[in-house]
């Protein structure tokens, strides 16, 4: 596919503008069925844009886009390298698969007069997430973070039960505190460096060395983003938010929102603060390592005890976020690659798992483990996809999950941290146990009086995205090379200093400091 040169140059801006416009159109249409169309069309377009951006990023190119023609550091620049190109692909595809699923699912779960607002919020959330990912400006991250956060509070609150409001509130409070922390951190960094452009901050921290203010700023940023990424012990909002949100929204959020926060964390730690400051002076690696281990242990152990499948999957997400944080904390290229890879693979499996449960909810109205008993007979395809995605989550060979687990293992062993390697493996056995509980329940014979005894397979528009994702879990388990290339490229790019000198024109401002 070849695009006109003019259009191709504008792709980074379009990545943001397309969903933003779709949000506007969805709101203006004010129609429960039509509102889905602009969102989905925009979803397809955004995916295409993300793929095009990833294609050039895979060659090792860094795309710089000066927004509005204002050269950084005066204006805001968008900056796409291998890592955020990968994240863009993840969030756009997570959104698209969930959107296709959402048409029937949302119509069944949400009051009709609210549906267009849901798609509007969905697109705003996607805009915010894509913006956080694509931007090269630290303050711009905060702006988009607020957009995506506010939109996701709305998304969660639109859930079918009244508890959704409470869940949204429990999300809103820590979310706002986190955003505030992030803003305070940025303020401190700005105070010392006098710039908000990521590359500039990195350069000045590199030149000027560090002081207490920068250290405090860095910690505020890490903790603030840690809330949004749901790293233990800042995870409390996540289980009820995923449980109460509409099923398709839960799939979207599970696949996209925490991933972006983890990405931002990676960007700040490795590129802006640099590994010397973050890991050398501040011991953030130790902090993250401890929190990651706690996430893995707590997430796995709590997930085993859940009786509500969406909640179970949410707790499992906390454990998986621990994996991704762990790779970051290991800090070696293999660890960074493992993290980047698992961002992608975890989105593959978790979106599939949530969509599968969404299908059950569509047919039975419940996602309790008890109501699932016997559902496998009525919904063979849904259940098969659930099993495949579940095996990927466990890390069975020939599924995507195995590849990222292998990288994480190799990274841990490279640092001679074999207890961590053991922890990773034991927790994947625990994952096998909690997914087994769901799968074995579904394949039990159904009691005669339960709704599961009479259910039929979900409609094909809900089934198609699910099956595609299940196949993708197998595909990327056998041939992980496309994602591997991006992930390894990202690991290389993150290990060298943030290139800024040759991109940013010397400016009067940068001389004054």
């Amino acid at each position: 596919m070849s695009l006109p040169a003019g259009l191709e140059a504008q792709l980074p801006a379009l990545q943001i503008v397309v969903p933003l416009m779709a949000a506007l159109i969805a709101a203006l249409l004010r129609h429960p069925r039509w509102a889905w169309w602009p969102a989905t069309i925009a979803g397809f377009a955004s995916c295409a844009i993300a793929l095009l951006l990833a294609k050039s990023a895979a060659r090792g190119e860094v795309t710089i886009y000066a927004l509005g023609g204002w050269i950084a550091p005066f204006g805001i620049e968008y900056r796409i390298d291998a890592l955020n190109a990968l994240v863009l692909v993840i969030i756009n595809f997570a959104s698209l698969f969930a959107l296709v699923h959402a048409r029937r699912s949302v119509a069944a779960e949400i009051r009709p007069e609210r549906i267009h607002w849901l798609y509007c919020a969905w697109m705003l959330c996607l805009t915010g997430l894509a913006g956080m990912t694509i931007t090269g400006d630290a303050f711009n991250v905060f702006v988009f973070l607020e957009i995506s956060s506010l939109a996701s509070y709305i998304l969660v609150a639109s859930g079918p039960k009244r508890d959704a409001l409470l869940a949204s509130f429990r999300y809103l409070i820590p979310g706002s505190i986190g955003a505030t922390f992030f803003l305070i951190g940025l303020g401190l960094l700005y105070m010392q460096t006098g710039t908000l452009n990521m590359a500039d901050i990195a350069q000045r921290i590199g030149e000027g060395g560090t002081d207490r203010t920068i250290a405090a700023g860095a910690l505020f940023v890490v903790i603030g983003i840690g809330v949004k990424a749901a790293i233990f012990p800042l995870h409390a909002w996540l289980p009820s938010a995923y449980e109460q949100a509409p099923s398709s929204v839960a799939a979207f959020l599970a696949g996209a929102s925490t991933k972006v926060s983890l990405y931002v964390l990676m960007r700040f730690i490795f590129d802006i603060f640099g590994i010397d400051l973050a890991f050398g002076a501040l011991d953030i690696d130790l902090l993250l390592m401890v929190l990651a281990i706690a996430s893995v242990v707590a997430g796995s152990l709590v997930a085993v005890q859940q009786e509500e499948v969406k909640r179970l999957l949410a707790w499992s997400s906390i454990a998986q976020i621990g994996y991704m944080t762990l790779g970051m904390a290991l800090g070696n290229p293999a660890g960074i690659a493992a993290s980047a890879l698992h961002l992608f693979n975890h989105a593959l499996m978790k979106v599939a798992l949530f969509l599968a449960i969404g299908n059950f909810v569509y047919r039975t109205g419940s996602s309790a483990l008890g109501s699932l008993v016997g559902a496998g007979r009525g919904m063979p395809w849904t259940m098969a996809a659930f099993v495949v995605a579940g095996m990927s989550l466990v890390g069975v060979p020939l599924t995507a999950g195995f590849v990222s687990k292998w990288y994480l293992l190799a990274a841990a062993l490279e640092r001679d941290l074999w207890p961590i390697a053991l922890l990773i493996l034991v927790s994947s056995v625990v994952a096998a146990i909690y997914l087994w509980r769901v799968a074995s329940a579904a394949y039990e014979p159904a009691p005669a009086d339960s709704p599961a005894a009479t259910i039929v397979e979900a409609p094909w528009t809900m089934l198609a995205p699910l099956l595609l994702l299940a196949l993708a879990n197998l595909w990327f388990g056998v041939d992980p090379s496309p994602v591997l290339r991006l992930a390894e490229q990202a690991a290389v790019q993150l290990s060298v200093p943030f290139e800024s000198a040759e991109i940013i024109a010397p400016s009067p401002l940068s001389d004054t400091n």
């Binding site: 060979p397 190799a410 087994w436 056998v478």
Partner: protein, 502 residues
């Protein structure tokens, strides 16, 4: 006729059973066609393996590249002598077991026979993959698939007991392999930068001896299919499966895949010299010695025939582990030989147990008094199988036990030698007691409780099992004798790996 290249034959050994699984699933409505497909594929696969043998015996090492997987790790196959021995055994016994299964499953009126034959074929495909894998990761993939493919066979009956057994099966096999074995593989990769099987090992000089000992222990316990104590509980539980499954998979293909993997790790990853120096092999050899004796003692107390055979299998798997752990020339040879000899002996015993079950619905040894006069062929074969397992001439088991005993003498491990001899005596007690009771004791006065429960079959006056079962039993019994008389091809193959002829 020209024989196709051995590479194609080796690939065929994996692809054909896969195809067979698919065809069987499609032909489910026509039992005769379904079973013809299984039998024909089995015979064809064995012919393929013989074709590979001709080449490998002359020193060829067919290599097949399947796909790039991770950087530096490919999906690839390579046929080497030890893997070929394992493939020969599994490939020969699959059609024989299929023949037996036709008699058994029909006479026993088992349900879901299509699923049974399909999963059986898939399991064989995975076992062949284990046999021919060129590196640890490829092997690990087939190893895990083998667990998953056999699980429906374990839970075949669908009873709560079968489901419990299935859970235990998955839990132990998956958790040991995911936690311990995968850790060991990743550690190997980290240290050596490779996971390929190389004669002489890849770890020497790349890993300190202490770490190497630890990693070998991780392998030994992580390969749960080898049923080394304390990870042996799944094997007796899996006996709830139909008898052909217990016979081929839980006496030959699955469990031997486990000990074979360990043998391969010992020879091709560590290398005998390095393993000896690290001391890890000796630790595992002692654990194996412990398992050998304890499992034999437990076997004596089991009245359920299949349970007793299962405990005997646990004991004899550790013979192979002992040989792999000692890693001397005769240790490796004994381990490889015991994979074959025990396979033929134990499958005969399981066939006989199944034949008794089909003909009389008796599962307990205490109910078998005097049955030899009604089923002389079956119980005669049982005696041959027992002698083969015990390791007496003129049966194949003698060669492997002799080699293993030599290995303990070479290594001057007298405790292990004592364990081997003690186990031989215990084997006599728990195995030979059965034909003795069957032939010499007066017939049981009253009917056993659960006989004729399903209302069919000659519960009152037992006769021999269906003819298909008898033919299969005959083939494996003759095999036990033939292996004593003609062990040379095996010795030649092993001689390509370790210097047997000094």
């Amino acid at each position: 006729m020209t024989i196709p290249a051995p590479e194609i034959l080796a690939l065929g050994c994996i692809v054909l059973p896969l195809l067979c699984g698919g065809l069987v699933a499609l032909a489910g409505r026509y039992p005769d066609l379904r079973e013809t497909i299984t039998l024909a594929t089995g015979i064809l696969v064995f012919a393929f393996i013989v074709g590979i043998y001709v080449e490998v015996a002359q020193g060829a090492r067919p290599q097949i590249f399947l796909a790039h997987f991770l950087p530096g790790i490919d999906f690839a196959l390579e046929v080497e002598p030890l893997g070929l021995i394992f493939a020969l055994v599994a490939g020969f016994l699959w059609p024989v077991t299929s023949l037996y299964a036709i008699g058994y499953m029909r006479a026993h009126r088992e349900r879901n026979q299509t699923r049974f034959y399909a999963c059986f074929a898939l399991s064989i495909a995975c076992a062949m993959g284990v046999a021919f894998a060129a590196n640890l990761v490829t092997l690990f993939v087939f190893y895990e698939l083998l667990t998953l493919a056999t699980w429906p066979l374990v839970t075949h009956a669908g009873t709560p007991e079968a489901k419990r057994a299935g859970r235990l099966y998955l839990l132990i096999l998956l958790s040991t392999s995911i936690v311990l074995q995968l850790l060991a593989i990743a550690w190997t990769w980290q240290a050596a930068g490779s996971v390929d099987f190389r004669l002489g090992g890849i770890l020497q000089g790349r890993m300190s001896e202490g770490v190497a000992a630890l990693v070998f222990c991780l392998f030994a316990f992580g390969i749960g299919k080898a049923a080394l104590m304390p990870f042996h509980r799944w094997l007796p539980a899996a006996m709830v499966a139909p008898t052909p499954v217990s016979a081929l998979l839980h006496a030959v293909a699955v469990v031997k895949a486990g000990v074979f993997t360990l043998l391969k790790v010992s020879v091709y990853i560590f290398g005998p010299g390095f393993l000896l120096a690290s001391g890890g092999g000796r630790i595992i050899a002692f654990v194996a010695g412990f398992t050998i004796v304890v499992a034999s003692v437990v076997a004596i107390y089991k009245d359920n025939l299949k349970a007793r055979l299962a405990w005997s299998t646990i004991s004899h798997l550790s013979y192979v582990i002992l040989g792999a752990g000692l890693a001397t020339v005769w240790g490796v040879a004994g381990a490889a030989l015991h994979i074959v000899m025990h396979a033929f002996g134990k499958i005969t015993l399981f066939f006989c147990a199944g034949a008794v079950l089909v003909a009389t619905h008796r599962k307990r040894i205490s109910e078998l008094d005097g049955i030899g006069r009604k089923m002389p062929l079956t119980m005669g074969a049982f005696a041959i199988g027992s002698l083969c397992i015990i390791g007496l001439p003129p049966l194949g088991g003698m060669w492997s036990k002799w080699s293993l005993a030599l290995a303990t003498v070479d290594a001057e491990q007298w405790v292990l030698l004592a364990a081997l001899l003690l186990s031989s005596m215990l084997s006599m007690a728990y195995l030979l007691a059965i034909p003795v009771r069957a032939f010499l004791y007066p017939a049981a006065a009253k009917e056993p409780k659960d006989a004729s429960r399903s209302g069919e079959g000659p519960g009152e006056s037992p006769a021999e099992a269906p003819i298909a079962c008898l033919v299969a039993i005959g083939i494996t019994s003759i095999g036990c004798v033939a292996l004593f008389v003609f062990p040379d091809p095996l010795f030649d193959l092993i001689g390509q790996v370790v210097p047997l002829h000094r």
